[in-house]
């Protein structure tokens, strides 16, 4: 497709100016004036030539002999009529020429339209990728409500962290028991600029940190176990396909950089990080035993919470 488009562009490189000139001649006032000027010049030269020939013929007979005024008028009108008759007699040829000229215009327009079509197709693909990247959401974790004791105001839950390498929740959840029933799931959130997200170069990052509730202040909350044996947060585990444009080793070295961004705001801004803060989505309606609540990170920024769909 790319090669065909290039060939068409190359052909159109010389067809387009010719086409533009033809259109200029036949569709603009200046063009009509130019054509009229050519016709007048053609008639002037034709008549002048006939008069000159007749004058030379007279001079050949006698040096003092000149064509009379009436003779010159006769030659003028006869040449004028002859020129028009000549044009009329050559109409089929002229029509053929016009056909070719407008064929060039048509061909050039067709090539331009095809070129626009191919370029639009590319733009659509780009925009689709942008929409896809912006519209993406990634699961952070799932909270399974194990028990809600409204009498003693205690909630028991299990936190399942999502591992993108496994493409599933980790099998061993963290069990939590906390006072209260409005459970705040606190995370560190790092949002990148739209331009970084649109291109698919970066994904917004989230690191679960703590759980607290309407009864328990953040400082008294429960720390979440969110890292693997190497200390890498599960949320950063990615399948090879999910590691955009870099190999796995480079990806993990990038994680170290991210850690640096947390403490170096200037560097973070240069890398396209637009915000770094803590966010805690929480389920405000009455929670019930057996409910599953999923935390998502949105690529447009921030976290959202949804009840897990069950069959």
């Amino acid at each position: 497709m790319g090669n065909s488009q290039e060939i068409l562009q190359q052909i159109n490189w010389f067809l387009k100016p010719v086409s533009d000139f033809i259109l200029y001649l036949f569709t603009t006032k200046t063009g009509y004036l130019l054509l009229l000027l050519f016709l007048i010049l053609y008639l002037i030269f034709t008549i002048y030539n006939a008069l000159k020939v007749r004058k030379i013929a007279h001079e050949a007979i006698s040096r003092n002999l000149r064509p009379s005024f009436f003779e010159r008028m006769y030659i003028f009108f006869s040449e004028l009529i002859k020129a028009f008759m000549n044009i009329v007699s050559k109409l089929p040829v002229l029509l053929g020429v016009f056909l070719i000229l407008f064929g060039i215009v048509g061909l050039s327009n067709a090539f331009t339209t095809i070129d626009d079509y191919v370029n639009n197709q590319k733009r659509i693909q780009e925009l689709k990728t942008v929409v896809k990247n912006l519209d993406k959401s990634y699961i952070v974790a799932k909270l399974n409500i194990e028990d809600v004791d409204y009498v003693n105001n205690i909630t028991k839950l299990k936190v399942y962290y999502y591992d993108y390498k496994l493409d599933d929740y980790l099998p061993n959840p963290q069990s939590i028991e906390i006072k209260g029933h409005d459970i705040y799931f606190l995370n560190y959130v790092m949002n990148f600029d739209y331009s970084e997200i649109e291109s698919g170069n970066k994904v917004n990052l989230v690191m679960p940190y703590k759980i607290f509730s309407e009864e328990v202040a953040k400082d008294d909350g429960i720390l979440l176990q969110t890292t693997d044996s190497l200390g890498i947060p599960y949320i950063f585990h990615r399948d090879d396909n999910e590691i955009y444009g870099i190999d796995k080793d480079s990806y993990y070295s990038r994680l170290k950089e991210f850690a640096e961004f947390m403490t170096n705001q200037e560097k973070a801004r240069k890398e396209g990080i637009k915000s770094f803060y803590a966010a805690a989505p929480h389920f405000i309606n009455r929670i019930r035993k057996g409910q599953s609540i999923v935390i998502w990170v949105e690529q447009t920024g921030g976290l959202v919470l949804k009840k897990e769909r069950t069959f």
Binding site: G96, L99, I100, G103, G106, L107, N109, A110, T113, I114, D116, Y117, N120, Q121, R123, I124, L127, V130, V131, L134, S137, G180, Y184, L186, Y188, N191, Y194, E198, S213, E214, E215, V216, A217, K218, D219, M262, T263, Q265, K274, S275, F276, Y277, A278, A279, A280, P281, H282, I284, N285, R286, V297, E298, T300, G301, G302, L303, V304, L305, K306, K307
Partner: protein, 216 residues
């Protein structure tokens, strides 16, 4: 047949072939022009639709901004300002809370596919549990209508929907609001704290995400 006649016939046949060739090229060019022209117009509509979708995904509203006035190991003093959907400031207050990290809590409601709105509910800190935080409804309760959602050109159904949602949220009767959830944002002590005399904004994204960042 005389040689001249044969040559003339061949010449005419060749002219005919050239003419047919030109006509075919012309028809093909016209077909390509109109065919691809039609497809290009369809593509333009698709492009406009995708660009609208991108703009919609990037849509943000800022219901409040705040500035830290004083901060020490015990408490934070800050000024908070409220804005409507047209970015017009309509209320402000100066508050002091025990703690070092400031938390802004919202109720997020999905009002249609892909569009969520957020109501500021309370402010608390790392030392104060959410239950004991400062309730924010009084700052934007305009005779039952949430002023943070006020916008020019709002119709009656919009006003009714917002008032109804706000009433339920204020009274805690949110059980029948499908998909409602809370969303709190705060700074991170030692890593990325809210700085004294810096202005911060809270951004609500169309998909329901909430972000807090410095208002540069």
């Amino acid at each position: 047949m005389p040689k001249n006649s044969i040559l003339q016939t061949n010449y005419l046949t060749m002219k005919g072939k050239i003419l047919i060739g030109i006509v075919i090229i012309g028809i093909l060019a016209a077909g390509a022009y109109y065919g691809f022209g039609y497809l290009t117009k369809q593509q333009d509509k698709k492009i406009a639709k995708l660009e609208d979708k991108i703009n919609f995904l990037k849509e943000e509203t800022i219901p409040l901004r705040f500035k830290i006035l004083e901060k020490d190991t015990a408490q934070i003093k800050f000024i908070v300002k409220f804005y409507d959907q047209d970015s017009v400031e309509f209320n402000t207050d100066t508050l002091t809370l025990q703690g070092q990290e400031l938390s802004f809590d919202f109720d997020v409601v999905k009002i249609k596919k892909g569009l969520s709105i957020a109501f500021p509910t309370k402010i608390f800190t790392n030392k104060i549990p959410a239950k004991k935080g400062i309730i924010l409804f009084k700052y934007y309760d305009d005779h039952g209508f949430p002023q943070t959602m006020s916008t020019n050109g709002a119709d009656t159904s919009y006003v009714r929907l917002m008032t109804e949602l706000f009433t339920k949220i204020k009274t805690g009767n949110t059980e029948d609001i499908k998909g409602i959830y809370g969303s709190m944002v705060q700074d991170i002590a030692k890593l990325n704290e809210f700085q004294v005399n810096h202005i911060y904004k809270i951004v609500i994204h169309s998909k329901g995400g909430i972000e807090v960042s410095e208002d540069l």
